[in-house]
Symmetry: C2
């Protein structure tokens, strides 16, 4: 029996050798032994990143969540979604505190207003949990980054589309929500671009649509009666565009005035489809989710600028990522309905 046992031992040793070299062959794909840094951006399933919203039922968050999930799948990490159900700052603070207590690998938060969450965000950062903000910023917090629409630039793009449709000449009105930073920036970008690039377009009125359809319809109707020769409208907010559309339909003017709306809720998309709204601006929501997770992953894995903690502690990550807007018209509106 001695020889056969020896043969088995030989067999096993040979197999082990094969295994051993093969193991290192594979390992070299993943790890470069001459360097400390890993190769490939891959995390662990146990690594959990959390997204925190307010009014968690809003359709608007869906594509942001999809981007966050898509990034998680590629990076091999886990995600979770938590949100205040209401439009309620103290509820969002409570949810964020609960998330922080579980010490996740990172948190992406949209701030219900610029100030309410600052204390809670800073507490998490000081405890070593990376936080980035998306869609709505809290600029005075210690969060590492903000990812969202450059509203001035969105207004400028709306102005260029508007100017193109009006062939550079005519009268315009803006329906907006004064005193809300997002909307003020969109209005400013639109106004300044019109006056710089389309000097023959005159903005005759900037009106307050109060963020709802009824008020926007009322104000649009009054503008149409006051300026019957008006050529078009820009709405800085979804309900504004829908209100303008309803006023035009009521007065039999649908399709006869240029309208640029904002966002891609069903009401707006339907009016783009039927030709009442010429174009609307889709925000880069998927980008907000995807690049939020990518930034958090880099911070958690310490793949940020070398020595950045010695460099006054500022901005190891890009402090701002503009997630872009896209112009939606009849030609591509079908791609924007929720699937």
């Amino acid at each position: 029996m001695k020889k056969p046992i020896l043969l088995i031992v030989y067999g096993l040793v040979t197999s082990l050798f094969v295994l051993f070299f093969w193991y290192f062959g594979i390992r070299e794909d993943k790890q470069n032994f001459w360097n400390e840094k890993p190769i490939g951006l891959i995390g662990e399933i146990e690594e959990k990143y959390v997204m925190v919203t307010f009014q968690s039922g809003l359709d608007y968050w869906r594509s942001i969540m999809k981007g966050f999930e898509d990034a998680a799948q590629i990076l091999n990490v886990s995600v979770d979604f938590r949100g205040a159900t209401q439009y309620d700052a103290s509820e969002e603070i409570t949810v964020l505190e609960q998330v922080i207590a579980k010490k996740p690998a990172g948190i992406a938060v949209t701030a219900i207003n610029p100030d309410a969450l600052i204390g809670t965000i800073n507490k998490a950062i000081e405890a070593g949990i990376p936080i980035v903000l998306f869609d709505s910023d809290a600029p005075n917090s210690m969060a590492y980054s903000f990812l969202g629409t450059d509203n001035y630039s969105a207004g400028a793009q709306a102005a260029r589309e508007f100017g193109r449709l009006l062939v550079g000449k005519g009268k315009a009105a803006i329906v907006t929500q004064p005193n809300q930073l997002n909307h003020e920036e969109r209005t400013k970008g639109f106004k300044e671009t019109i006056s710089k690039e389309f000097p023959n377009i005159e903005i005759v009125q900037i009106a307050d649509g109060k963020g709802n359809v009824q008020e926007s319809e009322k104000i649009a109707e009054s503008i149409l009666r006051k300026y019957p020769d008006i050529d078009g409208f820009f709405a800085t907010q979804a309900n504004g565009g829908v209100g303008i559309g309803q006023a035009l339909k009521k007065l039999g003017l649908a399709g006869k005035k240029v309208v640029i709306g904002f966002d891609t809720d069903k009401g707006t998309l339907d009016l783009v489809k039927d030709g009442t709204i010429n174009a609307t601006l889709a925000q880069g929501t998927w980008n907000m989710g995807y690049w939020s997770l990518l930034e958090l992953f880099h911070h958690y894995h310490n793949l940020v600028q070398p020595d950045s903690e010695d460099m006054n502690g500022a901005h190891p990550l890009p402090p701002y990522i503009d997630t872009g807007v896209t112009i939606v018209t009849q030609a591509n509106v079908d791609n924007y309905y929720a699937k």
Copy 2:
């Protein structure tokens, strides 16, 4: 001998089983068989990304190149650096055309001026080669993204540091380069932030340092003679800060006026170290290189927003990434000398 052979066969079969399960255990780390998308961001060494600069000898590019290289190492791809040796637009066009001819996986370019490279960049994009711009933008080109300093915000941060050092009260001058967009934005950010947040600081003069040390020294000296009670300077450009420092030293005023400089060339850092310049702004150069490659990699591997090519073709990638600035003072200046 029959029994021992059987034992060997059993041994081998068992080893094969172990091998087999172990193989799939490892493979699952890298690939999820239930999905089409790969797991982990990992490229191939054959995948080459190229960075194109002008004045390729400048120290300023070094940390940008390091960021590009660091990203390449993690992503397991190759990089190459090409540059016009001179400050010469047609030379940069030629270099870029040579790079495009080799059909790399992606190109990061810094534009010598906003217009010269547009045609060449657009040709590459149309040929399917992704391009992003870093440090200096060509905003009317079809490049997918721009990664660089938000100059308005950099000016605003300089203003806050200035206001803090002056305890919110005093007289200031700015030494800048009019008619250069970067410098106009920095000046605007500084001015508007001072007037909004530090109403008791008065800006008495905005002077043209012409981008060189001698002119900046001359103009700083004339300001110091005209306004002997001036409390400080902001230079929007490295040579401006060095010129101001030399004027202060010449008049025996070094350390007696507040100076905020820009960038981290050796001349500026030496003056921060000896206390003549109180603070200077370091641009997020490593971030420019690192995130440029990351964006190009995403485009090459088609890991951008799903359906983005059906969505009017706009912005599959974030169109702008602010790479941040950091305030450098005596406390952390040593980290900024080239290593």
